[in-house]
């Protein structure tokens, strides 16, 4: 009795699609991405090493200098060094990205577990809850959270996190269902293992491994969402050099000082690209292992 329900709708927005070709080796893209990720890690934990200047130090008379040898990425409207700010901004940007993703995943996990192990009623409740959450588009729910908490990075992070939760919840539910009905979970039951042990030792580890890849993708998306909130004036607070906020404030000067927009923008895109590449590589490896 095989379950052959091919459900086209079960594909979720955040589910990483299969790589375009059956690449097996670690491609140059992945190597570059890992390199960039290492750079980011350095920027997060020891920004002073690669950008010794003070990101908040203003020099009004040096404002709007284009990229040069002394200012690689130019300076902004207050004469602050854009390179320094971009490096020092990695931390707060990624904290938003990671924290938002973590909030989304944890919420989703709770929903997913309730759906799968809460019986028929639990599944129905979660199913509706996910639909309701889906019915609140990401930016809309973000604005609602801000309505309650007031603007700021914490609200933005929670908002972005919650708005990604339904997508993750669906994937987790599917993943949990697949794992729960798999031969090896059945085998564990037949060996007389208790439900708690099966959940913790067998189901969760296997159901959550695809999420690792997803999470890396989510981080980049969360940074992008948070930047939109900054654009609307509801995100990070100055002088924190958060990328989204930098991008949002630089937009005003686009025609006169392109470098203000381009470099933070490149960081966001590069982060998303490398996160995606690494995420896919992890996912592919996971699948191969399975």
């Amino acid at each position: 009795m095989t379950m052959t329900a091919v459900d086209g709708r079960s594909v979720d927005p955040l589910r990483p699609p299969a790589p375009p070709t059956g690449r097996r080796r670690v491609g140059p893209g992945v190597v570059l991405s890992v390199g960039f990720a290492a750079f980011l890690a350095l920027a997060c934990f020891a920004p002073g090493l690669i950008a010794p200047q003070d990101p908040a130090a203003v020099a009004p008379l040096d404002a709007f200098s284009p990229p040069s040898f002394s200012h690689w990425f130019g300076t902004d409207e207050s004469g602050r060094d854009v390179y320094t700010r971009v490096v020092h901004g990695a931390g707060s940007s990624l904290v938003i990205g990671f924290a938002a993703t973590a909030i989304g995943l944890v919420t989703a996990l709770l929903l997913g577990v309730l759906a799968v192990f809460g019986g028929r009623i639990g599944d129905a409740i979660v199913g509706r809850a996910v639909e309701v959450l889906f019915a609140f588009p990401a930016l809309l729910s973000a604005l609602l959270v801000i309505l309650v908490l007031g603007p700021g990075p914490v609200a933005a992070t929670i908002a972005v996190g919650l708005s990604t939760a339904p997508g993750y919840a669906r994937i987790i539910r599917t993943s949990l269902l697949t794992v729960r009905s798999s031969g090896y979970v059945e085998a564990a039951r037949l060996l007389g293992h208790g439900p708690a042990r099966i959940l913790v030792r067998t189901i969760l580890p296997n159901a959550l491994s695809p999420l690792l890849a997803l999470a890396t993708l989510g981080v980049g998306q969360a940074v992008v969402w948070a930047s939109s909130l900054s654009f609307l004036g509801l995100g990070a607070q100055p002088p924190a050099p958060e990328w989204g906020a930098m991008l949002a404030s630089a937009r005003v000067y686009l025609t006169t000082a392109w470098w203000l927009t381009v470099f933070p923008g490149l960081m966001i895109v590069a982060t998303t690209l490398s996160a995606t590449a690494i995420g896919r590589a992890l996912d592919a490896r996971g699948r191969r292992a399975r």
Partner: protein, 558 residues
């Protein structure tokens, strides 16, 4: 186009993937003449499918195909341009693959799939949609699909497996190709359906079509083929007329293939060669004479078991009123077609499902009626081996991990690894596999690990649900021998479920025939097979593809 030469001629075909690193077909030569049926037989990985597909220039992406000669209907396939190839595909040679559920586009109606070749090859009746409708209905009728006007409008998933396969054949023959390539056309179909498809292919051959038949199953091939080619690891190892091949051929591999078919081989006779050393003496008569003492009552018994899924109009009765009992050292075979309720019965016995009515007793004590909490400590008495070995193991665990996890919790930590090694040895696997991931093992190895896991807990009953159905014949033979051996040494009670009558007959002491959730007939295996009482059993037996000299009557007395 010449009537003189063969329709298909292959000389020295080589196919490789990954830029030549993986050679899957080496120096294969064969030919098919007009009206001839040639069969390629081989196990998985033998290169038989790739060979067949190369004929149509469809060896797959990344394939490198070279040959001294590869001609279809007088056209050189290797040098033909895309347009010429398209004329060949469907026009000169039609392809029927395994499992029409995925080989027909699930999103298109039967009419579209069957009518496509007419349109593509500008065949008569292909010009307009309405003409095609008529032509398609004729084709469907020709392949024996009742109510073609209804079926044409339906989608593949709405048809039964047999009808689907017929529709796939209809689409392959729509543009009247002279050659039909049938790649495992009956695999995964029930016996009775399989027989019908083979009859249809036979009819087509009789009507003048040439047939290139690809199968892993000598029994299937034996019905149709004029000549049989045996492939192994990309090479042709043996070939000849169907009769010579079925008699064992010239090559030892052919002999092993023939030998591995359990149909009619008496209980206890090893199917694999060389025989497992553990089996000292094959015994043909084992009625009540096991080496381990039988308990006074059956180890596992079921009384009036019934299970229905769904409710109201959607209700499906999976099992109705099943009674059975299996004693230590005994094997009860359960045979039936897909959907007959075999698997549900297995799940009821394993207490993975709760019966609506009736009761299962294990070792004389209630089993189905108690809470899972109370059942848990006794679960180790019942082991299970399932068909699907690919999802049977935690993807994150090694073989050692799988086995250690299955050991009783009181096993001393230091002894666990050695116990795992011993378990592997019990299923004839070496300790070097301990640290491998099950996913990297072959299907046969995986099934042995699954058996080892089932044994780890020290069970007295094993429920075996199609344990060898996914395995190649020679591999399956080894696993069956192993099971036989284990039963003898440990006095295990087996519930052995299979759709394959031959396997069941070989393995079982008693057999129960299931049909639509009901056990229609039960009794000692030879009694049931030789003198079936129920009409369904009779029909089932009639449809078994047999190797000449190995049919039911010939196997008597062993």
């Amino acid at each position: 186009m010449t009537a003189a030469g063969p329709l298909l001629r292959i000389d020295g075909l080589d196919v490789s993937f990954d830029g030549g690193r993986t050679r899957v077909v080496r120096g294969v030569s064969l030919s098919v003449s007009e009206g001839e049926c040639v069969a390629i037989v081989g196990e998985s990985g033998s290169g038989k499918s790739v060979t067949a597909r190369s004929v149509l220039g469809l060896a797959g992406t990344g394939a490198t195909v070279t040959a001294d000669r590869l001609e279809l209907a007088g056209v050189d396939v290797l040098t033909a341009d895309e347009r010429a190839l398209r004329r060949l595909r469907g026009g000169e040679a039609g392809l029927v693959s395994q499992d029409a559920l995925v080989s027909l586009d699930p999103l298109r109606r039967i009419a579209a799939e069957v009518g496509d070749p007419l349109r593509l090859h500008r065949r008569a009746g292909g010009a307009t949609r309405s003409d095609r409708t008529i032509a398609v209905e004729e084709l469907l009728e020709r392949v024996g699909i009742p109510r073609p006007e209804l079926r044409a409008r339906q989608y593949p998933h709405e048809l039964s497996g047999g009808l689907r396969q017929r529709a796939l054949i209809a689409s392959a023959i729509a543009a009247s190709p002279r050659l039909l390539i049938a790649d495992e056309p009956t695999t995964a179909l029930d016996m009775t359906v399989q027989a019908g498809i083979l009859r249809l292919l036979g009819d087509l051959r009789d009507a003048g079509s040439s047939l290139l038949l690809i199968s892993h199953d000598l029994g299937v091939v034996s019905r149709l083929a004029d000549r049989v080619i045996v492939m192994r690891a990309g090479e042709v190892v043996d070939q000849g007329t169907a009769e010579t091949m079925l008699a064992g051929g010239r090559h030892p591999y052919t002999t092993a293939l023939v030998r591995a078919v359990p149909a009619g081989v008496p209980r206890g006779t090893p199917l694999s060669a060389p025989p497992s050393p553990a089996i000292a003496q094959p015994t043909s008569d084992r009625d009540g004479s096991t080496t381990v003492a039988t308990s006074p009552w059956p180890l596992i018994e079921a009384d009036g078991l019934a299970k229905t899924f769904g409710r109201g109009d959607d209700a499906t009765v999976a099992v109705r009123a099943a009674d059975l009992a299996v004693a230590a050292g005994e094997t009860l075979g359960i045979v039936g077609e897909s959907g007959s309720g075999k698997t549900t019965l297995a799940r009821l016995l394993l207490a993975l499902a709760t019966p609506d009515r009736g009761e299962v007793r294990l070792d004389g004590e209630p089993w189905s009626g108690v809470s899972e909490r109370r059942r848990r400590s006794r679960r180790r008495l019942v082991g299970s081996v399932a068909q699907d070995t690919s999802s049977a193991f935690d993807p994150r665990a090694s073989v050692a991990g799988v086995l250690i996890d299955a050991l009783p919790s009181e096993t001393v930590a230091s002894a666990r690894r050695s116990t795992a090694t011993r378990l592997l040895a019990d299923v004839a696997l070496g300790p070097e596999l301990l640290d491998r991931s099950p996913s990297t093992l072959s299907g046969g190895q995986r099934q042995r690990v699954a058996i080892a896991r089932a044994l780890a807990a020290g069970p007295r009953v094993l429920v075996l649900d199609e344990p060898v159905s996914a395995l190649d014949a020679t591999v399956a033979a080894g696993v069956l021998d192993l099971l036989d051996d284990l039963q003898r040494r440990r006095g295990l009670a087996y519930v052995f479920i299979s759709h394959d009558l031959g396997v069941v007959r070989h393995m079982s002491d008693r057999v129960a025939v299931m049909h639509e959730g009901e056990i229609v007939e039960t009794g000692p295996v030879e009694t049931v097979f030789r003198a079936p009482r129920h009409p369904y059993t009779r029909r089932l037996l009639a449809d078994v593809p047999r190797l000449p000299g190995q049919d039911g009557e010939a196997g008597q007395d062993g």
